[in-house]
């Protein structure tokens, strides 16, 4: 007797070729309906008009060699020479030329630390100490003065290290302040609550540039005679005060997400306010707000570009000073595109990471 198998019972008919594979995909995703077909064709036409000339401009006709300003003037394409010739000034600013390996190592260390901290299995208490040591080493590398390193004044710091310094230190220092403000805003004491609300809303209501102006022109007036604080530190304080208000709002969102039962459970265990917050509430609340915190880091990273307005030598300012040189005048689009790529890479990797983290962290709740 023949054994029964589904295959023997009937031979399954394959779906028509126009519904599977490449053709099926194209039909389903690009040409489903008149409007979509028109749109697809329109976009393809625009691509055809824009992309080949762009490739010709950016790659085929472009000049790459360092110090070819002359060749650039004759070439029809982009002059990437403006970037390749001045890359070290753009990245490091006025840092002494022979010592530029130091900020380079400091930056690599920072990237390494960030990469290490992005892995969730490394989220331990020791991470805080690793960061403390790392930041100290970076500061020493930049400043010098010990271990036979030539001291370098902070007024000479510039370029990418300054941008990174302002954003990373800004966020690190703003975080505790932001948490305190968030707790203050949710406090039962009316005085403290109102102080926090006024601070947060005041800062969030004004543009960062007004705080930077304040840091650069009013802050010196605040100090007693003879005391001066260097410009980078003043801008850093402004960025910290600004970022803290935004962090406070994000953390408040996290605190509101914690159910009342958690507070009551902590209270019934006899924990006081500080212990309740430290052991029960904050660990949960801060975990929820990690993804929005990363987006604050992204905006802090982007916002540091504003210090160019108060004449700090960040990435933007070094680039502009290159462009103001008569030799390189007129090649701004190329230089700005290079900067845009740098910023894009930084922000894109962070936002990608934040999305990935959000998915991972929400997995526990989805079950």
């Amino acid at each position: 007797m023949e054994e029964y198998t589904p295959e023997a019972a009937y031979s399954p008919m394959k779906p028509p070729i126009t519904h599977t594979g490449v053709i099926g995909w194209i039909k389903k995703n690009l040409f489903n309906g008149y409007l979509n077909s028109l749109l697809t064709l329109g976009i393809l036409f625009v691509f055809y008009k824009i992309i080949p000339p762009f490739i010709r401009w950016a790659f085929l006709d472009s000049v790459w060699c360092p110090d070819c300003a002359g060749a650039c003037r004759k070439a029809a394409g982009a002059c990437w020479s403006v970037v390749t010739s001045n890359i070290r000034f753009i990245i490091f600013g006025f840092y002494p030329y022979s010592q530029q390996w130091r900020p380079l190592i400091a930056m690599l260390l920072l990237f390494g630390l960030i990469y290490y901290s992005s892995k969730r299995e490394n989220w331990r208490k020791s991470l805080i100490y690793i960061w403390a040591i790392g930041l100290f080493v970076m500061g020493t590398l930049m400043k010098g003065g010990i271990f036979g390193l030539v001291p370098v004044e902070s007024t000479k710091w510039g370029g990418l290290p300054l941008t990174l310094l302002l954003s990373v230190f800004g966020l690190t220092a703003a975080y505790p302040l932001g948490v305190i403000l968030a707790l203050g805003r949710r406090s039962k004491m009316p005085g403290i609550r109102w102080l926090s609300i006024i601070y947060i809303e005041l800062i969030r209501g004004v543009p960062l540039i007004s705080l930077l102006f304040m840091a650069s022109i009013i802050f010196p007036l605040f100090l007693p005679e003879g005391v001066t604080i260097n410009k980078i530190l003043r801008a850093q304080v402004a960025i910290i005060l600004f970022t803290a208000a935004y962090i406070a709002e994000v953390v408040r969102g996290g605190l509101q997400g914690i159910s009342k039962g958690q507070y009551e459970a902590a209270e019934s265990l006899g924990l006081n306010y500080v212990l309740t917050m430290r052991l029960v509430i904050l660990p949960q609340a801060l975990k929820i707000v990690i993804p929005p915190t990363v987006s604050i880091l992204i905006s802090a990273f982007k916002d540091t570009s504003l210090v160019v307005i108060i004449a700090l030598w960040d990435l933007m300012k070094t680039t502009q000073s290159v462009l103001s040189h008569p030799k390189w005048m007129g090649f701004s689009p190329e230089a700005y595109i290079f900067l845009a790529i740098l910023y894009f890479l930084g922000c894109f990797s962070m936002s990608n990471y934040s999305r990935k983290l959000e998915r991972e962290l929400s997995q526990g709740e989805q079950r």
Binding site: N29, L39, R204, F213, I218, K302, I309, S332, Y343, S351
Partner: protein
């Protein structure tokens, strides 16, 4: 709580509670904390203010807002109200504030349109459109707005020709490194009446919508509001235009000397600022719109279809009212962001409020007053927006059982 029991065993215990020392009483402790914090803040404020006053005295800088009435003696590139170097600082600041409002207002309108289009495109079933919108959103969000401003300004300033060789893509439009010269309708009475007719159309549409909604609630009949409103808003001016004999008088820019005369002239600073702000903010608006539309669950659309509503009604009566509730709050904060980011105009030389205030500070040395004014103006923008938002949120809040 019950009255304290007069049971003999509880007597001494109760008395003890009454005698709790104040540092163990949470209420009294809270007062102490707050007093302490206020003292700290007060001391800090006193320290900073006294230092500032001393420093100002030492540098012989007068305090107060008296400088607002002095002659500004600097020119401002573009102004909505008459202004000259002989005007006062107060007027200069007013010009700056109006310029901020102008660029924010135009920017917000264009951003809303562009952002909504891109947000909807992100959800398109067309793979190419959706990916392109996603690419736009990602790129624009990840490049600092200041860099974008510099980029557009450089494009305008360095790659466009001088007014003599201005690009002339079609009649009435000239592109040069001095800006964009644009033909505008000439100032003849017919166009004025058309504008009035347009406003009348808008008002009529508003009342029609109100009436139609009331009627729908009473009788359930749906009135084609969108079609009739569009017909009124566009039709009224058209009727006026035809009634005046369909005039086509334009004020066309002409090259005279080194620059254009006639028409309206948009400066490179203004265009660069507007382009940068719009492209940057519309990426965020697109994300807000996308998230809002996706927040309405699929079941809502299916339920509406099952009720037999036509697709436009599904969108208008079911999807949009729910999506709007999610969209509006983050949308307002994006609009505020655009307004705040317009302060970056100072970097490319557009005379907005911050830029003018900065010039005033540099000329008079009145830094404290200048920065205070900047903060106050932006706070007024922000607070009035949040007040409006609170009102709107209350109006549209979900009424739950």
């Amino acid at each position: 709580m019950d009255k304290p029991s007069t049971h003999t065993a509880n007597g001494p215990y109760l008395k003890e509670i009454e005698k709790v020392p104040f540092w163990l009483d949470p209420k009294k402790r809270a007062w102490v904390y707050q007093f302490f914090v206020f003292c700290m803040v007060g001391l800090l404020a006193y320290y900073l203010v006294s230092n500032t006053i001393l420093n100002l005295k030492r540098q012989h800088i007068a305090t107060g807002f008296g400088f607002l009435h002095k002659e500004a003696s600097f020119e401002i590139g573009e102004s909505l109200i008459p202004y000259s170097a002989a005007s006062t600082y107060g007027r200069a600041l007013l010009v700056g504030a109006l310029n901020t409002i102008k660029v924010s207002f135009i920017g917000i309108i264009i951003t809303l349109i562009l952002g909504t289009m891109i947000g909807v495109a992100r959800l398109s079933s067309n793979w190419l459109v959706s990916k392109l919108a996603g690419f736009y959103i990602e790129v624009m969000q990840d490049i600092p707005v200041l860099l974008q401003l510099f980029f557009w300004y450089a494009i305008f300033y360095e790659t466009l020709p001088s007014p003599r060789q201005a690009l002339h893509p079609f009649n009435g439009l000239f592109l040069s490194n001095r800006g964009v010269a644009l033909a505008v309708p000439a100032a003849i009475p017919a166009y004025k009446y058309m504008l009035l007719a347009f406003i009348a159309g808008c008002v009529a549409a508003y009342f029609l919508r109100k009436w139609a909604r009331k009627r729908q609630e009473r009788t359930g009949k749906i009135f084609p509001v969108f079609l009739t409103s569009t017909a009124m808003i566009l039709g009224f001016p058209l009727i006026v235009w035809v009634a005046f004999g369909a005039p086509i008088q334009m004020n066309i820019p002409k090259l005279s000397g080194f620059n254009f005369k006639g028409g309206i002239m948009l400066t490179p600073e203004f265009i660069a600022l507007l382009t940068g702000l719009v492209l940057y903010t519309s990426a965020f608006v697109a994300e807000v719109v996308r998230a809002g539309i996706q927040s309405v669950s699929k079941g809502q659309r299916e339920a509406a279809m099952a009720l037999g509503l036509k697709p436009p009604y599904v969108l208008n009566l079911v999807i949009l009212p729910q999506a709007m509730r999610v969209i509006i709050p983050p949308l307002t904060s994006q609009m505020l962001n655009l307004t705040k980011n317009s302060s970056l105009a100072v970097a490319i030389g557009f005379p907005d409020f911050v830029s003018v205030a900065n010039t005033c500070i540099n000329q008079t040395g009145q830094a404290v007053e200048g920065v205070a004014l900047i903060m106050a103006v932006y706070l007024i923008f922000s607070l009035s927006t949040s007040l409006f938002m609170n009102w709107y949120n209350k109006k549209t809040a979900l009424v739950e059982r």
